[in-house]
C-alpha cells in the first residue's frame, strides 16, 4: 500500500535528519570549543589554583570539579594513576565548579583546610565520605563537618577562615572562568589547554598520552 511507504519513508527521514543534525551540531560545537579554549588560555588556571605534581611537568591537566559530583570522585584516582604512570611529566590543577546546592560551602572548607596544609587530605576525605554528606544531590556541609575529625585540623581556625572574602572571590572567579571556557558539566578536563571533547577515561588517557608524546 502506498500510504504505508509514505509513512515509513517519512519516519526514516525524521530519524536520518535528526542524526545528521546532531552530528553537524556536535562537530561545530567541538570545533568552537577547541578554538575558544585555545584563545582563552589565560583563564585556564589562576595563581591561587591548587596544584598537584611536579611544577615543571610539561603536561598539565586542568580539572573543573564539584566536590558533590560522583563522576569527579571516580575520576580523581584515575587522574592520580595517570600522573603516577608518567612520573615527573604530568601535573594537575584543580578549579572549582560547585554546581550542586551548597557545594560551594564544601569548597570553602577545602580552601580553609588548605591554609592548614590539609587541602588534598580534605578533598580525599570528602570523596571517600560522599554518601554521608550528600542527600538527594544536595550537599550538607554540617554532615561533612563531623567527618573532618580524623584530619586533626584546628576547627575553630577552619570555621573562621571559611568566611574569608578571598575564598569567596576565588570560587566566583573559577565559576566565571568555567562559563568563559564553556564548561557546564563536571568533571571538565583540559590538557595543556585542549578540552576533553568526548568525555571518558579512555579519551582522557589518550589526550594526556598524545600531549606527552608531543612534549617529551
Amino acid at each position: 500500500m502506498k500510504k504505508n511507504i509514505i509513512v515509513v519513508a517519512t519516519a526514516i527521514l525524521f530519524v536520518v535528519l535528526f542524526v545528521a543534525a546532531a552530528t553537524l551540531y556536535n562537530n561545530k560545537k567541538n570545533s568552537d570549543l577547541s578554538s575558544a579554549s585555545l584563545e582563552k588560555i589565560d583563564s585556564m588556571q589562576r595563581d591561587y589554583s591548587p596544584k598537584m605534581g611536579p611544577l615543571d611537568a610539561k603536561v598539565t591537566i586542568v580539572e573543573f570539579f564539584d566536590p558533590a559530583c560522583g563522576t569527579c570522585s571516580v575520576f580523581y584516582p584515575f587522574v592520580k594513576k595517570l600522573m603516577n604512570e608518567n612520573p615527573g611529566r604530568v601535573n594537575l590543577v584543580l578549579r572549582y565548579l560547585p554546581l550542586h546546592q551548597n557545594s560551594d560551602v564544601i569548597v570553602s572548607i577545602f580552601e580553609a583546610a588548605r591554609l592548614q596544609n590539609r587541602f588534598w587530605e580534605t578533598l580525599e576525605l570528602a570523596y571517600k565520605t560522599r554518601d554521608a554528606w550528600i542527600e538527594h544531590h544536595v550537599a550538607r556541609p554540617e554532615k561533612f563537618w563531623v567527618q573532618l575529625g580524623v584530619l586533626d585540623l584546628n576547627m575553630q581556625q577552619l570555621e573562621a577562615d571559611m568566611q574569608s572574602t578571598e575564598i569567596a572571590r576565588r570560587i566566583k572567579q573559577d565559576i566565571q572562568d568555567a562559563q568563559y571556557l564553556k564548561v557546564s558539566k563536571t568533571p571538565g578536563f583540559f590538557v595543556n589547554g585542549k578540552p576533553l571533547v568526548h568525555f571518558g577515561s579512555q579519551q582522557l588517557q589518550q589526550l594526556v598520552e598524545s600531549e606527552i608524546t608531543e612534549n617529551y
Partner: protein, 151 residues
C-alpha cells in the same frame, strides 16, 4: 453518512481526510524530534512546563499513526483532548515567558526556571511559541477533519 455520495467521491474524501491526519502526525513527529534535539543534543534542560507539554505531544505521534492505518474516523475523539490540554500548558508557559504572569506564580524550581529564555530562533521564535504553533495547528486540522469529512 455517505448516502448520496458516489464511490469516487467517498474515496476522495477519505483520501483528503487521511492527508489531514498525516499532517497532524508530521507536526507531532517534528515536535517530538525537535524537543529531543533541544534537550539531548543541544543540552538545554527541559523545565517542568516543557515536560508537561511533552507528555501531551509524544503520545500524539503514536496515536495519529494508529489512526492512519486504516483511517479512523473517530481519531479526533482521542487526540483532540490531548492537544487541547497541551495547548493549555503551552499558552501558560508562553505567558510566563513573556511576563504576563508574575514570577511568583510559576511552579518551577529555582535552578531550572521556566522563564529563562534559552533559545531564540531567528531572534524571536522561542520554544513555547513553537509549542503553541504545533498544538494549534493540530487542533485546527482535527477540527477541519471532523467538520469536513465526518460531521
Amino acid at each position: 453518512m455517505f448516502n448520496g455520495m458516489t464511490q469516487d467521491k467517498r474515496k476522495t474524501a477519505s483520501q483528503q481526510g487521511w492527508i489531514l491526519i498525516f499532517t497532524c502526525w508530521l507536526i507531532a513527529m517534528a515536535a517530538l524530534f525537535g524537543s529531543l534535539f533541544f534537550s539531548e543534543v543541544m543540552g538545554l534542560k527541559p523545565c517542568v512546563l516543557c515536560w508537561w507539554q511533552r507528555i501531551f505531544i509524544y503520545p500524539l505521534a503514536v496515536l495519529f499513526l494508529v489512526g492512519m492505518f486504516p483511517l479512523d474516523r473517530s481519531v479526533v475523539r482521542y487526540t483532540l483532548p490531548l492537544a487541547v490540554i497541551g495547548l493549555g500548558f503551552a499558552i501558560y508557559h508562553y505567558l510566563l515567558y513573556s511576563g504576563y504572569i508574575p514570577e511568583s506564580l510559576q511552579p518551577c524550581s529555582e535552578d531550572l526556571s521556566c522563564t529563562k529564555i534559552n533559545l531564540e530562533l531567528m531572534g524571536f521564535v522561542t520554544i513555547p511559541m513553537l509549542s503553541i504553533f504545533s498544538y494549534s495547528a493540530i487542533i485546527a486540522l482535527l477540527l477541519i477533519f471532523r467538520k469536513r469529512f465526518y460531521p
